[in-house]
């Protein structure tokens, strides 16, 4: 089974001006670590297991430190990511709205399993609109508060790909192997959607243990979606798409 770096790394490494990325919290944390200045996780190795997780995070941090842009005010080459945070269940709807508003861009939604369960009927809402430019990925790791407490979700073995197929997505599939995912993703990006992919992913190991002290979450956890919305709008304006 692939790890989170491999799941999100494939998406980051294939980012171009032609796709816009929407993520939920679990994926957001990984993208924050790995995507770097280019947004494309250039220096992040795609290794399996816990070693791969650690190597990915360390490589991402080092790349962020040593590859700072000479002009941080410059418009980024690829569109800023927007995260449905803190708002579980919101990613698919946000992505659908973007897909309808920006039909020349492929919208890639990296959803979480607990998040999608919260608004599972959103699969029907998406499918009813049949957005050809919509690729919906769910990271199924069976847990929420992943990497912290790893609380089991209500249905860890739930088959999201079947649910998406029944809802009316034009293509659905399930992938567990990292190499297959890396090979398949560029093909999935090219397909007419709505396309759905369930990734079976190993959860990031939990941190909690007796006497563990939970730290206060940073302020940007609460206001980042608004800032990201403004940044994405600015990017679209810069490209004359609004």
């Amino acid at each position: 089974m692939m790890n989170m770096i491999q799941a999100c790394g494939v998406v980051a490494k294939n980012r171009t001006q032609d796709n816009l990325l929407v993520a939920t919290m679990g994926a957001m944390f990984i993208f924050d670590f790995i995507e770097g200045e280019s947004g494309q996780a250039k220096y992040v190795p795609m290794l399996g297991g816990k070693v791969g997780l650690i190597a990915g995070v360390v490589a991402g941090k080092l790349a962020a430190k040593f590859t700072k842009s000479a002009n941080p005010e410059a418009v980024p080459a690829i569109a800023p990511r927007i995260n449905s945070v803190p708002l579980m269940g919101g990613a698919a709807g946000l992505g659908l709205g973007l897909a309808l508003a920006q039909p020349t861009k492929k919208i890639v939604v990296v959803d979480g399993d607990a998040s999608l369960l919260m608004e599972l009927s959103g699969l029907v809402t998406v499918a009813q609109q049949q957005p050809a430019n919509f690729l919906h990925i769910v990271v199924r790791n069976g847990t929420q508060f992943t990497g912290l407490a790893n609380v089991q979700i209500p249905a860890p073995e739930f088959n999201f790909a079947d649910a998406a197929r029944n809802a009316g997505y034009v293509h659905t599939e399930t992938i567990s192997d990292a190499d297959e995912w890396a090979k398949r993703y560029p093909e999935l990006l090219k397909m007419n959607g709505p396309v759905f992919v369930q990734l079976n992913v190993a959860p990031v190991p939990a941190q909690v243990k007796p006497e563990f002290k939970q730290q206060e979450l940073p302020v940007n956890q609460y206001d980042r979606m608004g800032k990201e919305a403004v940044a994405l709008q600015s990017w679209l304006q810069e490209k004359d798409l609004i």
Partner: protein
């Protein structure tokens, strides 16, 4: 005034939406606004209808449309608004993405139409304005056709403040 005076013609409301350059109506249908829903389904004015399975989805879809440069209207029932308060909080209060919602006061007694809705005997009606006040969300009443200019005001306010504005539709819209 009789209850007929509180029945805003759907055609006049639709004209107000067109005037405000609304491109999408994102909805979980509402009993109070059924005639407007029907008029949009017939798609004679170029407004696209997006039916959602929950009111939370109306807010996120509308947010995506807005970020992507389109102008949506959200249409739902009072019960639906209660259902999506957390999404309203995230999208409009925290992320400051503007939204205009037309919310039907389902359950409002015809005898209450000329009274203060807080005097209604139905909780879904009488708690609405206090709930919106508690949330810090601006709201206005659409009682009669003369109030339709408030739609223009709502879009201007939502955009200026980066927040939600709720238009409360008092009585069932007329099928005309």
């Amino acid at each position: 005034m009789s209850e007929v005076d509180y029945s805003i013609p759907a055609s006049e409301c639709l004209a107000a939406l067109v005037r405000n350059q609304v491109e999408y109506v994102v909805t979980v249908p509402d009993w109070v606004q059924l005639s407007l829903h029907d008029a949009i389904v017939k798609n004679t004015h170029g407004i696209q209808l997006i039916n959602c399975c929950s009111e939370n989805q109306t807010l996120t879809v509308a947010a995506g449309l807005t970020v992507g440069g389109k102008r949506p209207l959200l249409m739902m029932q009072n019960q639906g608004l209660y259902n999506c308060i957390n999404t309203l909080r995230a999208v409009c209060l925290d992320a400051h993405i503007p939204a205009v919602l037309m919310v039907g006061q389902f359950g409002r007694e015809y005898a209450n139409l000329s009274e203060d809705p807080k005097q209604s005997g139905r909780s879904m009606v009488y708690i609405m304005e206090p709930v919106l006040d508690a949330l810090g969300i601006q709201h206005m009443r659409l009682d009669t056709a003369a109030d339709l200019s408030k739609i223009d005001e709502a879009y201007a306010l939502a955009q200026a403040n980066g927040s939600a504005v709720v238009l409360l539709v008092s009585g069932p819209m007329a099928w005309s």
